[in-house]
Subunit: 195 residues, 2 copies
């Protein structure tokens, strides 16, 4: 046997990425083998190398794609308005974006240490860019004189940690709708920055 019936790169490629994402999130990058990923897709391990140069790059490209999507989606949702409006937009966006992407978030935060130094630097820069959009909102609120924030950098990290924590406990079949969660977290955020 060699090439199998109905094999197409435009189908197999995404299936490999989806399987890798799921398995990395469930068991961790180091604990998942290329053979496991291949089995999940119904291939032999060697076939994966038609789609990725190596395992490291598979992880990196998943993380990079996630961060790129995050940044561009953020840029289009959190645009103009006064600082308070933009803060609310940011909170709503962050929650909505993260809620449906538990696996991606898990990997983006947990597997940083399994990236090669250069790859780490790339992802880290994107993460900082995302943090900076919130940081800029807090600075703007300070300039407008509406926020009460002693240290915008620290507050940024505190808020992002708080908001991202949602992914660790939220379940769609729980008693809270996404809108409920958004409201609770927006109120905490709002009060924390003194609005």
């Amino acid at each position: 046997m060699a090439r199998t019936q109905g094999s197409h790169s435009e189908i197999t490629g995404p299936r490999i990425r989806a399987a890798a994402l799921k398995l990395f999130a469930a068991h961790g990058y180091a604990a998942v083998s290329m053979r496991q990923i291949a089995r999940e897709v119904g291939l032999q391990a060697g076939a994966l190398y038609n789609y990725t140069p190596d395992k490291q790059d598979l992880l990196f490209s998943l993380m990079k794609a996630h961060m790129d999507e995050l940044l561009s989606a953020c840029a289009s949702h959190v645009t103009s308005g006064d600082a308070t409006t933009r803060l609310k937009n940011f909170v709503d966006f962050h929650i909505q974006f993260h809620m449906g992407r538990a696996d991606e978030i898990f990997i983006a935060y947990m597997e940083l240490r399994n990236l090669s130094p250069e790859n780490f630097e790339t992802i880290e820069a994107l993460r900082r860019a995302y943090e900076d959009t919130l940081g800029a909102i807090l600075e703007a609120g300070l300039a407008e004189g509406v926020f009460d924030v002693p240290d915008p950098k620290v507050t940024t990290r505190a808020l992002i940690a708080m908001l991202t924590g949602i992914t660790t406990w939220y379940r769609p079949d729980g008693y809270l709708s996404p809108a409920d969660v958004s409201e609770i977290y927006w109120n905490m955020t709002r009060k924390a920055v003194g609005v």
Copy 2:
């Protein structure tokens, strides 16, 4: 060669645990081999099995010890007083306790998925117990009528995520002292619960 000079279980045991803690935190449980841990301590891999039945138990006992210490220290620091006082005590305690234990915190949150199901349940129960101490404080504040918290369970998770996030960015050689951090986070917490 066999037994080496100055070899003592009361010395080697803690050294193995310290090495495992450091390496697990740096590279992840799955990515660290028993041979790496042994090399760090200056032993052969086989010698580790005088101190742990297997690798899984080494991880579990590190996490268990951390959680036990956390709970007992918390119980002795956050005792009596009104809800606001206990909340401040909790925040101060959490920050102070977590600041010097970056490796332990990292493992306790990141390596849960590498625990066997029974071990996971044990650690998870301890984590819930810790969360419940904060939850009880929020409930007490509600009962006293001093906190403005719509959902104590969600607020608990939000606050703990926010506070624990400190370990991901705080560096002792930075521009902020532990007291500075405590003050910033206490103010955010205080305002978030409406005091």
